[in-house]
Amino acid sequence: MATHLILQKIFKTGFVSEPAPAANLALRTREQELHADILKVYGQAVAIRHVDAGSCNGCELEIHAINGPHYNIEGMGVKFVASPRHADLLLVTGPVSRNLEVALTRTYDATPEPKWVVAMGDCGCTGGMFGESYASCGKVSNVIPVDVEVPGCPPTPIALLQGILAAVSKGGKNIAP
């Protein structure tokens, strides 16, 4: 019977979740006003809306990965939500394709203030190999304001978590965690 097998498997597997990494504040690119005040309200709980703005889908693999059991993101207060209207933070991947520019801007506008934007991956941070062209706006900050940039192709799950936590951590830019 499936229930019996499921319970057996769960007990046999045990816990695989690992401790949360520290925030990497060096990834922060700007400091919003009232940052400390906002955090008094939020604590470290953060609702994330992911937006693929034109990525190759490599970064998405790692966003899926951090939702797996090793990373226990909800234990850190990190949760992915289905609508920008429910989000505190936009996690944006890819060079921003011109075909998605309007949708990204509208998503940003639909996210209530205060809000953060994390640009993920080399393409999101610099435009990457795709760069700027007739079809690509390049990096995310060419289109919407960005708070944290997490480079990598794709960034590892740990680097991504360090970047997300950097957005919602106290302390200024380039201050060691």
Partner: protein
């Protein structure tokens, strides 16, 4: 080479790969001959050859009884056009429309001449892949007025979804027309991740091109990088060391296992069995971590390079990977026993999102989704390149074409890939891992064909006399399979769409380019 009654004068370009040129007017007759033989159209694309003193060209890749045939037809420099192929192979429809958007080459008498990849970013009279397209021309910001086909009548209403979806997936627009909960029609509008990939290839050096090809669709990195390198090595008549070829196959199978594990987890998740998601993603994470330890990257990015591979494996690494393959196999078997036995999961999977074999054959469903609908094609089994010609790959097929069949094919392919990995590790030949490419002095071309985890990846390459890339066309199997998702959902309920969609798991980036 004969296809049907006629000798089409094709020449061997590589193993199981054929090359031919003919008048565009002959393409329909060739297409019919291929179709009658049970073959398929795999890819269709164009090129601007005016800098070579010619006009434009239309290219097609056909799957035939003898392998893959790459056919090109020269077209006029003014008003280039070729006969519509979509009335013979319906999968040509979107590729023809994309070819027009990018090059202004017309499929004469095509029923559907709506734009496809072009939204509002460039004007209807600008064709980005023409060599005289001005890259500095400011982008237009036209709104994307796209004429969806409307369903009308009592009680019908529309649900527009996307381009930004509720989950962590790529962007695309789905227009559902429904009655109650049942789907009457689904129409897709893709192209949102079009980022000028093919244009970007132009002028790249060959080594950078391999990195870039691997980023056409990141989840199929090894498949693209290998297909690209195969094309470049064919074009330059370069020899690749045997060990490198075996390592490439190892990378491709590691990639297949990783993707299938992830999908099997998500399929569980989509029927509310989060246990399945957590278990399969635990295994996938273990697999990725070992991959990173052995080869320096979780997804093997940039491990395949022109002339060979960038990463090797030592004896202790071989032992470790073989051991992990055994462990993953045992774990997947225990999870499959649970999936098989789980009443809710089976109820949701079975008879959901059916694509029957005759429809799959008519519309050219390919890859793992094709094999789940009795389309028994797997290049590793039927037209094996080295080293698959020495590995006797067993192809997984199912007949029912539902979500369950697509899950079953994934399970079978995980087991087969793990077997292949053990075999590759055991018999890995000694030798160099890379050899320099032969120098380029004239314009040359090649084509690579690799059975990726999703289906066949084809990359056609032309190198200029300066040794830089002149035209690269990467083809993703998602081109053929997206239209079948539109049909597989019909009559199903809207809440089953995420499940059906995941069971295909098609690439947006790979087809949007």
């Amino acid at each position: 080479m004969r296809i049907g009654e006629h000798d089409w004068h094709l020449e061997a370009l590589g193993k199981h790969i054929w090359r031919g040129r003919m008048e565009a007017g002959q393409l329909p007759a060739l297409s019919r001959a291929v179709k009658e033989e049970g073959g398929q159209l795999i890819a269709l694309w164009g090129s601007d050859d005016r800098q070579l003193g010619e006009g434009f060209a239309i290219h097609a890749a056909f799957l035939t009884g003898a392998g893959l045939a790459w056919i090109s037809s020269a077209l006029a420099a003014d008003a280039p056009a070729y006969p519509d192929m979509a009335h013979i192979f319906p999968q040509a429809d979107r590729m023809q429309r994309a070819t027009f958007d990018l090059l202004g080459i017309v499929a004469t008498d095509a029923v559907d001449d709506r734009k496809w990849l072009r939204h509002g970013a460039w004007p209807a009279d600008g064709f980005p892949l023409r060599k005289d397209f001005d890259p500095n021309r400011p982008p237009t910001r036209d709104t994307d007025a796209y004429p969806f086909i409307r369903v009308e009548g009592d009680g019908v209403h529309e649900i527009p979804v996307g381009p930004i979806h509720a989950g962590t997936i790529e962007p695309g627009h789905f227009r559902f027309s429904i009655i109650g909960e049942r789907v009457l029609k689904l129409e897709q509008r893709l192209g949102y991740t079009h980022k000028g990939t093919e244009k970007r290839f132009e002028g790249m050096d060959l080594a950078t091109g391999a990195k870039f090809a691997g980023r056409v669709s990141g989840d199929s990195h090894s498949a693209y990088a290998w297909a690209y390198c195969m094309a470049v090595e064919t074009a330059t008549a370069s020899q690749v060391p045997e060990r490198a070829v075996w390592l490439r196959a190892l990378f491709l199978e590691i990639e297949r296992v990783a993707n299938h594990l992830g999908d099997l987890g998500y399929l569980g998740n989509d029927v509310a069995l989060s246990f399945g998601f957590m278990q399969f993603w635990r295994l996938k994470e273990d697999w990725l971590r070992l991959t990173a330890i052995l080869f320096g990257h979780r997804y093997l990015f940039d491990c395949i390079v022109p002339g060979g591979v960038a990463k090797d494996i030592d004896d202790s690494g071989r032992a470790e990977l073989a051991l992990e393959a055994d462990r993953i196999q045992a774990e997947v078997r225990s999870l499959k026993a649970i999936y098989d036995d789980h009443a809710t999961l089976q109820d949701r999977f079975a008879n959901t999102g059916i694509v029957k074999p005759d429809l799959a054959a008519r519309l050219g469903l390919t890859g793992l989704a094709g094999r789940a609908s009795a389309q028994a094609w797997d290049a590793r089994a039927q037209f094996p390149q080295a080293p698959y010609d020495q590995l006797d790959v067993s192809m997984a097929t199912q007949r029912l074409g539902d979500v369950l069949a697509r899950a079953e094919v994934r399970f079978a392919e995980v087991y087969e890939s793990l077997r292949l990995i053990r075999e590759l590790l055991k018999r890995l030949p000694a030798g160099e891992r890379c050899a320099p490419l032969a120098p380029v002095s004239t314009v040359c071309e090649g084509l690579g064909w690799v059975e990726g985890w999703r289906g066949e990846v084809v990359v056609a390459v032309r190198i200029g006399a300066d040794g830089k890339l002149d035209r690269v066309h990467p083809h993703d199997p998602s081109w053929q399979n997206w239209p079948l998702l539109e049909l597989g959902i019909l009559g199903n309920i809207v809440p089953d769409f995420p499940l059906i969609n995941k069971s295909f798991n098609l690439s947006y980036s790979g087809q949007d380019l």
